[in-house]
């Protein structure tokens, strides 16, 4: 039965994943706490990180039992969500329009290609200067690179559509609006979702950088604070927190993508 097959394979997959993580933790512990390898000895070891992370009375005042920890998470997740949603809505719309209309493409593509490579951090001075308050600036910095990644992937998605789908749609009597909703949007969807995964990664990356430089509260800010106060355990478990949140957000995008693209997932058998 396919159902049993699938659960067996996903169980063995889980086992392998957990083994990989365990091996990494052992390597980390051995190289830091046991062998005190050169350079590694400065790293906090996993045991002290976990102790601090799960402590009722953390030195830094932040652990999974304190409200501050969750406040940091809430701030960062909130910023990423707002920035990512804006990047998705605006980026997908712009990308579809550029792919759909040749004249619009000619006008906008060079601009997009100039703005796209600008590192998000280079926007900070202008963002702080013109936007009301630090909060909006951090969200803007988180948004900007994710937005361009989404635009580009959406555009490539439209370009990737087989020309014959357009011809067939025309033969079948489609008006432009039908072609847009029945060919352009679904045809670009696989690329859009690849783009959204990339955009989500970029959003987290820019967020932390933005929080370190201009932020108040949030995971990136807490990492910077840990660094300033030499709380290296705090730095590490905040990094791990970021990793976990990043993983969850990517998985969420994949799950939505699978639902919207049943035809793709059935082909790949996932």
């Amino acid at each position: 039965m396919p159902g049993t097959m699938k659960s067996v394979s996903s169980f063995s997959q889980l086992l392998k994943a957990l083994t990989g993580i365990a091996l990494f933790l052992i390597f980390w512990e051995v190289s830091t706490a046991v062998l005190h390898l050169p350079r590694f000895s400065l790293l906090p070891n996993p045991v002290s990180v976990v102790k601090e992370w799960f402590s009722f009375t953390p030195v830094s005042g932040r652990s999974i039992f304190t409200a501050d920890y969750y406040l940091d998470i809430a701030y960062s997740v909130g910023r990423v969500m707002i920035a990512f949603s804006l990047a998705t809505v605006l980026g997908v719309s712009l990308g579809l329009m550029m792919g759909w209309n040749r004249i619009f493409y000619d006008f906008t593509f060079p601009l997009v290609e100039i703005f796209r490579p600008m590192p998000p951090l280079s926007w900070i001075p202008l963002a702080v200067l013109i936007l009301p308050g630090v909060e909006v600036s951090v969200v803007f910095v988180t948004f900007i690179a994710a937005f361009f990644a989404t635009v580009l992937n959406t555009l490539l998605g439209v370009f990737s559509i087989d020309k014959n789908y357009f011809l067939r749609a025309r033969c079948l009597g489609s008006k432009p609006i039908h072609i847009f909703t029945n060919v352009v949007v679904p045809g670009a969807l696989p690329f859009i979702f690849t783009g959204l995964q990339i955009a989500m990664g970029i959003a987290w990356l820019s967020l932390v950088a933005g929080e370190i430089i201009a932020g108040q509260r949030g995971l990136g800010y807490a990492i910077y604070e840990g660094y300033s106060l030499f709380q290296n355990d705090q730095v590490v478990y905040y990094m791990l927190t970021l990793g976990i949140l990043g993983y969850i957000s990517s998985a969420a995008i994949r799950a939505v993508g699978r639902r919207l693209m049943a035809w793709e997932s059935r082909r790949r058998g996932i």
């Binding site: 087989d162 014959n164 789908y165 011809l167 067939r168 025309r170 033969c171 079948l172 009597g173 489609s174 008006k175 039908h178 029945n182 060919v183 679904p186 045809g187 969807l189 693209m261 049943a262 035809w263 059935r266 082909r267």
Partner: protein, 278 residues
Amino acid sequence: MADGQQTPGAISIRHVSKIYDPEGVHVEAMRDCTFDIAAGEFAVIVGPSGCGKTTLLNAIAGFDNITAGEIYLDGELISSTRHQIKPNVDRMVVFQNGALFPWKTVLQNITYGPIVQGRMSKKEAVARAREMLDMVCLTGLEDKYPEELSSGVQRRVEILGALINEPRVVMLDEPFRGLDAVAKTVMHEFLMQLFCASPRTMFFITHDLDEAIFLGNKVVIMTTRPAQIKKIVTVDLPWPREHSIMNSKRYIDLKREVLDAVHEEAKKAFEAGEREMA
């Protein structure tokens, strides 16, 4: 269906030429082609690869323009150097590599045309599509996506998706290319069944001479590029045809006639290719 009335779908191709990029590379694809396809006739176009068969199809479908001549559909000018009617449901194309929308199920693919045209309600279109699937014994595949089906079934679904629109002309560009010989015979019988059930003008491009003679009323042999009409062979075999007909004397004679003409052109094309390579 349209008994008594004259069935539509007569194509008249008058002195049609096509030059790609006349100012630049100047590739002459077609030169002064003139022939007629009667309404309800099954015309098969054969000729060497790259000779310009698809060029002619694109011109009739309205995908591309021509550089000289005129094309008429039922007396109405559909393409000339000044005038070109955009693609529409009168001239349905079944594409060489298949163009079913991968994101639509079989049923959605077949019903798409009549629904967007507003010719049928969704309910009517679905009922009609099921009826057609039933007729060709493809029931049970309604909710499958194209990529879950074999390419032979995909082709059949695409053909049904064309026929549901009741076009005046169905144009098929090597639709069975890449299918194995067994799958092809199934496809031929499938097409034969549909054609006999409601004859309409067919414009069928192929390399396969058996396919051409088995299916066609008329085999139009084209020359090496630039494509001209080399010969038109009328296939006077009775309908409906079965595969055993391929052993009949008349079939073998017809095949020899077509083969001789095609072979001459293939040799020319080969030599031209050699020259280009040299």
